[in-house]
Symmetry: C2
């Protein structure tokens, strides 16, 4: 089986933004309210940080539980790893996710400022100052035959799209407008020259967008 490169469960606003303006420690998504983006997934039984019992087992749960299925590595941009910019002042920051990050695979963080790898629970973060193509070669090797997830943020997904390295994508488009921030697209139709696009609207107002390479 060929290894695929996938974007999964990435949240986008109705006007095409993947996060708001002004990311900080207190506001990882900038001025955007993350609950409007995550509530569809947070309601499902397989949401990884679910602490209460219950949760739905309908369509949205298929999508949530597919997140880890056959994924052997993730590539993310530095802004997904943390709110810092420029050289590291120290190595105290270990990501947003505490002692047991939800990835449970090798994760490659693209950054101009490399630092030593960190292992937290079942996840190891490596820091690479390389091109998307070279990062993908490293991730494929680490994934041991499984697929590689491009975890975002927006700038990282755009770089991999520009290099034509992505096979399949799932975006959950939320019924909110952000107006400013990190923009993924003006319209998803910009991608239909290279990808099939299937839209699945949900009663919650979320519209799942599935793309796969033509």
């Amino acid at each position: 089986m060929t290894q695929s490169v996938r974007v999964q469960n990435f949240m986008v606003s109705a006007d095409g933004y993947g996060s708001g303006e002004g990311q900080s420690f207190e506001r990882p998504f900038g001025h955007a309210d993350p609950s409007a983006f995550f509530s569809w997934a947070g309601a499902t039984a397989h949401w990884p940080t679910r602490t209460e019992p219950g949760g739905t087992y309908g369509l949205d749960d298929y999508i949530t539980r597919d997140y880890r299925h056959n994924i052997g590595a993730e590539i993310m941009g530095r802004n997904k790893f943390g709110p810092h910019r420029g050289p590291w002042e120290n190595y105290d920051w270990q990501g947003w996710w505490g002692d047991e990050p939800p990835f449970r695979t090798p994760v490659f963080v693209l950054t101009h400022y490399e630092r030593p790898s960190i292992t937290l629970g079942e996840t190891t973060f490596h820091f690479l100052n390389v091109t998307p193509k070279d990062a993908l070669a490293r991730a494929f090797e680490a994934a041991e035959g499984k697929d590689v997830r491009i975890g975002g943020g927006v700038a990282t997904i755009r770089e991999f799209l520009d290099a034509d390295l992505i096979d399949r994508m799932h975006f959950a488009v939320a019924p909110v407008e952000l107006g400013r921030g990190e923009r993924l697209w003006t319209s998803p139709d910009e991608l239909v020259d290279r990808f099939h696009l299937e839209r699945v609207p949900r009663p919650s107002g979320i519209v799942h967008h599935f793309f796969w390479r033509k």
Copy 2:
């Protein structure tokens, strides 16, 4: 994690039949045309018996590829295993699926006429003359912590529903009427006293029905 009992990707006609009348070797679904039931899944990239390249990666593919995910055993009725009725005349019949059946787990076949187990590829069929509850205990043990699929046919699903042994179900309801055969329900609403029901209509005319226990 608790082991769950699941029905997955079971096809039903708009008037509630899971198979037609008059099952035979030539017509495993009786007078029903199976293509009307299976085409939604056959079009997907992960359909297990897909021989051509291509196939879709949209919503229906999530459902198709979930079929084997975290399943450790299946329980099926004898009519799913073969068209014979009454005592076995010999043991030549080894199921409909050739040398590599798509289950790839232990499979427990409920029958009044036991026979020796058969291993084909990664699948082993065991034949049991026991109650649903006892069959489930055997299947849970064989599944080694994973879930158990109730594979059908209709009579077997009904028996497990009557014994209140099922946690989650997915049915793909096709836009065809059969008029006669093995009937699962008059209306899916018969089950909403015990189960949440989410309906997801598709452009193909298929309506996915997801049930999970209240």
